[in-house]
Symmetry: C2
Subunit: 272 residues, 2 copies
């Protein structure tokens, strides 16, 4: 892979990169298509990164579908699919990790300690191997994008992080490889997640400034069905700091569990 990257660099080619864990869906494909439009070469990685899963999480059962992924990626405009083994990326004695500080410790970082350290570390490794000019990520994983942008700034990484809109099913449910875990009943309920976020956005646009009232309304819409709310927060979009009074741009983000399946979603609200 590095030899290919160096060849592309020597030819002066602009490289677009889409890092994924595979089980590609329309969200990933939208990133690949955008990368295709903006670059000379498009590289997609498929790597289920063990370092970002904790004990008891779904590393082993995370969906893997490399043959189908290869077809989908190529159709969307991918030139090179990079599919390394865990042993190649984490050799014996591996011990270096990127810690990204407070932005990693809030929201999903609370229930998934170490998760974003694993994410930042694998992203840095992949960026060093692929040497992309532009990296494409989805807004569904908003905190991840904030963290990777922070890492790119703080560690002087020479790439541009592009964050594209969340792609949704017709029900409004954010596309996610983990949606495959849902039963038909759960999947149908899961549409409520985005409905609650849209409702909250509407209330803010209509003038509601109290984050607690907004959160209560979301919680109410999600209540009483077999769902456990992990968090609902209203934060500053750049720092992920919780806000006391809604003004300017805010991010509403949440994580819920439907049975064993953990889903996240978010909405950006620009209040004028």
């Amino acid at each position: 892979m590095r030899r290919v990257s160096q060849f592309l660099a020597a030819k002066g080619k602009c490289v677009g990169f889409v890092p994924t864990m595979g089980a590609l869906h329309e969200g990933h494909l939208s990133l690949i298509r955008k990368a295709r439009q903006e670059n000379d070469a498009v590289i997609v990685s498929v790597f289920v990164n063990p370092a970002q899963f904790s004990m008891g999480e779904d590393y082993d059962k995370y969906p893997r579908a490399i043959k189908n992924d290869a077809v989908l990626a190529e159709d969307a405009g991918c030139d090179i699919l990079f599919h390394p083994s865990p042993e190649a990326l984490y050799p014996d004695g591996f011990s270096c990790f990127v810690h990204t500080g407070r932005v990693s410790e809030v929201l999903c970082g609370i229930s998934r300690p170490g998760h974003f350290t694993g994410v930042a570390t694998i992203c840095l490794k992949l960026f060093n191997i692929v040497m992309p000019h532009r990296v494409y990520m989805g807004r569904k994983d908003y905190q991840q994008a904030v963290i990777i942008k922070r890492m790119v700034r703080d560690l002087n990484i020479n790439t541009d992080i592009k964050v594209l809109p969340t792609v949704r099913e017709s029900s409004g449910l954010a596309m996610s490889s983990r949606n495959d875990y849902l039963s038909p009943r759960q999947r149908s309920f899961a549409a409520t997640i985005y409905k609650s976020l849209k409702k909250a956005a509407m209330l803010i646009e209509e003038g509601e400034q109290n984050p607690d009232r907004i959160k209560a309304i979301i919680r109410g819409m999600l209540f009483g069905r077999s769902v456990a709310v992990e968090y609902i927060v209203i934060v500053r979009p750049d720092t992920l700091e919780e806000i006391k009074c809604i003004a300017g741009s805010v991010l509403i983000a949440l994580a819920v569990r439907l049975g064993q399946t953990r889903l996240i979603d978010n909405i950006l609200v620009n209040k004028r």
Copy 2:
């Protein structure tokens, strides 16, 4: 600096890089001369990195001599001197650090917690800015070189770390910018440090296999003069793990304090 690096990369030039904290001495200059021999372009950074000093250490009084450094570096073959400000490298909200694990926690890592995190982080930042093909470091800072090599491997950094022999004063004292702190009397005593390491190496070559006996001899040679021994260790050169019985290659490393001044030195012994 990045624009220069990208220009050199586009021209296909091979870049040699010598990261320093300035106050250049013959040790640094030997690295610059070697970089000159092996590369098309030689870049030297001078940056007293606040992130690798703890509270109460000598960050403020660390010797700074940029004008003299510029002359010395140029004479030794440096093309470009990179001298960034702390504010440029650590902007507001900076929060990303590279943690390199156990190799950072032994030897100097015990009395300087966080030191090697600061070293690894600044090295990664500088490598990303300078994009060197080869990086030159001195063997005097042996643990630092082990850590940076580990980081380069684990984070897939595309550069080659060259570790060159320690340059010594005629007395045997390892060259160090911190030698400037020594009084004439301390400087004269400091020659004992390397004498004790050479004596230890000789005993190992003659057949001594017990690390405790070797350490006791070094300690004896250093004892009773105004010196505090911080550590004396005999370790595997690649992992820095302490060994019970001397066989094969070993590293003897030590740190001492002469008054306020902390000095380190080491010797590699290859026992056949």
